[in-house]
């Protein structure tokens, strides 16, 4: 149960779901394994801790944190901590949303239900408030060179008004964060980053800026200056066209430009995280209600409904898009995460390039694979993966897939055991259930005319 009232908070980054843990302890007694803490103890107490830098109640994971003395005694109640709110907080509540703590933000996890919202995006359209996402701007004559050094994709390939999926890099070939870089000018770049990582990213970019002593590149965290709405689904373009100029239909996938939506000026990009056609609009927070209500009204005849972070997660999982904190972290290289396609080893020097080049030659230590359950059960984040009984990895993301109507997941396993068709067993709270590796993505939308026109797109 994910009641906010049952949570107790530390001063900083985590909450503890006491009820869920107590329920799990009862299960521990009957089955020998506590699926919540999986046997780990924090200062004598078994707890289930979800970092607020993590991803909400469906990403329950165990993590031991330093400084947990007096656990359960010194923790704050929800009333005592303040979650950040987007400009649409009241609108979400009025729309009946269930709000959760996501990366320190009070965000809607669902309105009418995850399944309904997920299906709306696959078949019609859904509107997401993703204003918690961070935005970092880099400008100046050396901005391009700085980003080439900090990120793995080839920023020089971006034309004006083009966008690119990329990652901020650690020297070991892993991602500080994954991000979308928009080129708004010859010397001006707008980077959309994960909410949980915004502060970390900004500090990392400042600390690793190759031109720190010059004014040739200016880096700013501009997150507070933007709301972001994502309109996703096959009907997104038709809905948006009614209230937007210039005509969004002429914007190609992974391109962006200044646009006016519902009378509000902002940046419109044909991007998204759902596996469908769709758009993301960045604009001043003060105008949030105007754009939110304007889009919902324009979309109503087309079946548009608001969608929460729950559906956002299941949609991205069907599309096999990685989620930072699950598929990506400090320990996992881009090659291991199937992100070789954004790792441009031929573009020149960048942080992590040597590690990636070496790994490309010597081979990866683990590999991200997709699987579906062939026996009853739902694989969830963190569950152990076995092949022929031998523990060989963990589920990085697992869920029931509402559109595909089956249980699917992503898991890291030894590369030599990665092959579509390979059978595995997922340990679901102490019981083994059969699964089979599949090809990725699990879901790919049918191509439409827009895509045929947009063959020249680069990500």
């Amino acid at each position: 149960m994910s009641r906010l009232e049952n949570r107790r908070y530390t001063k900083g980054a985590v909450w503890v779901n006491i009820e869920l843990h107590l329920r799990a302890r009862a299960l521990t007694l009957s089955r020998g394994v506590c699926y919540v803490c999986r046997g780990r103890r924090v200062r004598g107490l078994r707890v289930y801790i979800v970092p607020s830098s993590g991803e909400g109640p469906w990403h329950l994971r165990q993590r031991t944190q330093p400084g947990f003395s007096n656990l359960g005694v010194s923790l704050a109640t929800p009333a005592e901590i303040t979650l950040k709110r987007t400009a649409l907080f009241d609108a979400h509540r009025q729309a009946g949303a269930r709000m959760v703590n996501f990366a320190g933000w009070a965000m809607p996890v669902e309105y009418t239900g995850i399944v309904e919202e997920h299906l709306a995006v696959r078949t019609r359209a859904g509107l997401f408030d993703v204003s918690h996402m961070g935005e970092i701007e880099a400008r100046g004559p050396k901005a391009l060179a700085a980003l080439q050094h900090l990120t793995c994709n080839d920023v020089a390939r971006l034309a004006l008004n083009q966008a690119q999926y990329s990652a901020l890099m650690y020297p070991q070939g892993s991602a500080v964060d994954d991000c979308v870089i928009h080129r708004l000018g010859e010397d001006r770049f707008f980077i959309c980053v994960n909410a949980a990582n915004t502060q970390k990213d900004y500090e990392y970019v400042l600390a690793n800026n190759p031109f720190p002593a010059t004014s040739d590149v200016e880096i700013r965290d501009v997150s507070e200056g933007y709301s972001q709405l994502a309109l996703q689904g096959p009907a997104a373009v038709v809905i948006l066209a009614q209230v937007t100029a210039p005509d969004p239909a002429t914007l190609k996938t992974y391109w962006c430009r200044a646009a006016s939506c519902c009378g509000v000026d902002g940046l419109l990009a044909r991007t998204g995280y759902s596996g469908e056609d769709g758009f993301e609009f960045y604009f001043p927070p003060a105008e949030s209600l105007t754009v939110w209500n304007g889009l919902l009204e324009a979309g109503r005849p087309h079946g548009l409904i608001p969608a929460g972070l729950g559906a956002r997660n299941t949609l991205r999982l069907e599309a096999a898009y990685p989620l930072y904190g699950n598929e990506l972290d400090e320990e996992t290289t881009l090659l291991e995460a199937n992100l070789g396609w954004i790792s441009k080893l031929d573009k020149g020097e960048f942080i992590g390039k040597a590690s990636l080049a070496e790994q490309k030659q010597k081979g990866v230590r683990k590999k991200l694979v997709g699987f579906e359950m062939i026996e009853r059960g739902i694989a969830r984040d963190g569950y152990p993966v076995r092949i022929n009984g031998k523990l060989c990895g963990r589920v990085s993301s697992g869920s029931f897939a509402p559109y595909l109507k089956k249980s699917i997941g992503l898991a890291y396993i030894p590369p030599e055991q990665a092959a579509p068709g390979q059978e595995m067993q997922i340990e679901i709270r102490g019981k083994l259930a059969g699964a089979r590796q599949t090809t990725l993505p699990f879901y790919r939308r049918a191509k439409n005319d827009h895509d045929k026109d947009a063959k020249t797109q680069k990500r």
Binding site: A26, W58, N313, R376, P402
Partner: protein, 129 residues
């Protein structure tokens, strides 16, 4: 909302006792908390469970919840419908969405359960929705 003839647990299970047979499900409050239910896992017929022990799990898209036995007894039947169409636990939690039937060992155990009035009060006290 909550049927008068049911008894309730603090973990949001309901039970209807009829002679030695107890029908068990999760409450409307519980299904709302969970959201879209997509999977139900129940113990085999013939399993003996003690009160407050796990009686299976109910899973929504985003969460796993244990169902605890309100009373000690033996599982005598499972609702086949909730395994093939788990969403009926959302649509009719107090009726078609029942989960299991138990043969109860000790009817006096019902003294530890809440009446409808007590449960509704309990929900309010929890800051219920």
């Amino acid at each position: 909302m909550y049927p008068e003839e049911f008894l309730y647990t603090r973990d949001h299970e309901w039970v209807r006792v009829d002679g030695n047979t107890a029908t068990v499900g999760i409450t409307d409050h519980a299904q709302k908390e969970l959201g879209d239910i997509v999977f139900v896992d129940l113990p085999a017929v013939g399993t003996h469970v003690a009160a407050k022990e796990s009686l299976g799990t109910v899973e929504s898209v985003k969460a796993v919840a244990d169902v605890f036995a309100p009373l000690t007894g033996e599982v005598i039947s499972l609702n086949p419908k909730v395994q093939s169409a788990p969403e009926i636990v959302n649509t009719d939690p107090h009726g078609e969405g029942w989960l299991v039937q138990l043969r109860v060992r000790d009817r006096n155990e019902t003294e530890g359960l809440m009446t409808t009035e007590e449960y509704e009060k309990y929900l309010k006290g929890e800051g219920g929705h």
